[in-house]
Subunit: 319 residues, 2 copies
Amino acid sequence: MTSPACVVGVDLGGTKLLAGVVDARLNVHHRTQRTIAGLGQAALLDAVADAVTEVGDLSGIEPSAAGFGIPALIDRRTGTAAACVHLPLEGVAFGDLMAERLDLPCVVDNDANMAALAEHRFGAARGVAHAIVLTIGTGIGSGLILNGALYRGAIGAGGELGHMVVDADGPLCQGACPNRGCLEAVASGSALVREARREASSLPASALGQVLSAGREVSGPMVTELAHDGDVAAQRAIARIGSQLGAGLSSIANIFNPELIVIGGGVIAAGELLLTPAREELERRALAPNAELVRVVPAQFGAEAGMLGAATLAREELG
Amino acid sequence: MTSPACVVGVDLGGTKLLAGVVDARLNVHHRTQRTIAGLGQAALLDAVADAVTEVGDLSGIEPSAAGFGIPALIDRRTGTAAACVHLPLEGVAFGDLMAERLDLPCVVDNDANMAALAEHRFGAARGVAHAIVLTIGTGIGSGLILNGALYRGAIGAGGELGHMVVDADGPLCQGACPNRGCLEAVASGSALVREARREASSLPASALGQVLSAGREVSGPMVTELAHDGDVAAQRAIARIGSQLGAGLSSIANIFNPELIVIGGGVIAAGELLLTPAREELERRALAPNAELVRVVPAQFGAEAGMLGAATLAREELG
């Protein structure tokens, strides 16, 4: 069955890809997941093409286009990926390449932009003209909805709020970012693990302290779980991240004067343990008119946000 | 003589106002300046109205509209001034009030937005789709040209890059800003004076050190003059401000991916003494695609930027 209303959305993360056939109401008719960590470029491109073909075949729907969210800046002058840390796609004209291989109209954008598009068109930021969406996982991605549209900058490399300086002499950032003390360096999942190790050392009797002294690996989800269970050390680590996030949110409020800031990504599993200190710091720091207007809320979409947004972009630009 | 091509532009600063009759090519036919420091609200409004009337009368041109740049956030829902620190205009519907008094179509906006508009339509950022204009004086104002238009945010309180956090535990900001370590707190003219005092203390034999030990007041223009004359302490103070400015510029590059950042205001009198360390810090910190694209240049318009921009806004919106 050909369905012009159906498109494929694909979200490429550092470790896995998620692909699905998505209709105009954002129902997912078939989805697939592949592990792509460690693949070379050719094998990665094969895996992506294969996943798109598979979801089309198994859903029995012939999609009219495909959209891809990838963890890279996309240079819109050439369509090539830049600053792609976790996947071997640097310099690859990903959209053109996929369009040729799949014989299907294809579009590609930054993964965090795709998550923001999903939240704006169908999720927590629906109907809001000025909304900032932060996706906080290992790193921090962001998408800017300004005057109702995604803002990408001169060549498509804008909207990198994760790499806005918050603490000029702070810790070094990771990957392709040469910065110190940018939001990603102080308020991402990686920063949470660093803070949790510090709290665990100073509170060795805490549940988190026992994890550390037993030589077990400290991870973001584990810290979040311990915090929800009431462990003080874990709660302090999350509160510290929340407070540093809040300093960044005050910048966002003063820069964009948005109605809404949406927080998604794995770290939002901490919920109010993260958001309450973040809001408090935002209110302490932002100019009054900006602080009074903005609301900070969790994302509506979880792990599928990027895939749903990629499908939305494909429908809007090509569908 | 009635000239539909002529409008009045007025720039209100903390200490003086500047008004002029401006034609469509940005020629100023008559200008006037008034000291307004310390005036109460009624006297201030009288002085403004009087200046507009005077420039119209003395130029022999009947303007078709007037535009005002004021040092405040303008709530565009109501047209009232908010966060107005230096003048008693808080809560005043300035544009409506002037329109009634002068019987002339009037428009009002933030003074830094007006400077940005002048630079974009006629100055250093002419023809550039994504340009950020910083006005660095006692404080730091900014205007954002995104996709060719001024960005104002949900209620008009956006574009406050001076109040973006750069050093979360840094010095307290001034006026209506409750923040710590925002760009204005570390890279404005006020911050320059603070740094200059510190350098003067550590280098008492320097020209700047002698100024301090003689009990003379340290001012931004004096530090700039001493630096141009080769005084090491003054040069260090400016370089320190430049470097902190550069950390902020790296955020701006990563957030907006602009082609251009324009630096105006009194502090730009330091020229390359400020801009060279700022550019170096930007290049050290920003993501490669953003650092490679952006240029950092001095503003074309000096003290008249706000007046020229206010006239431009009046022409574009009302002329």
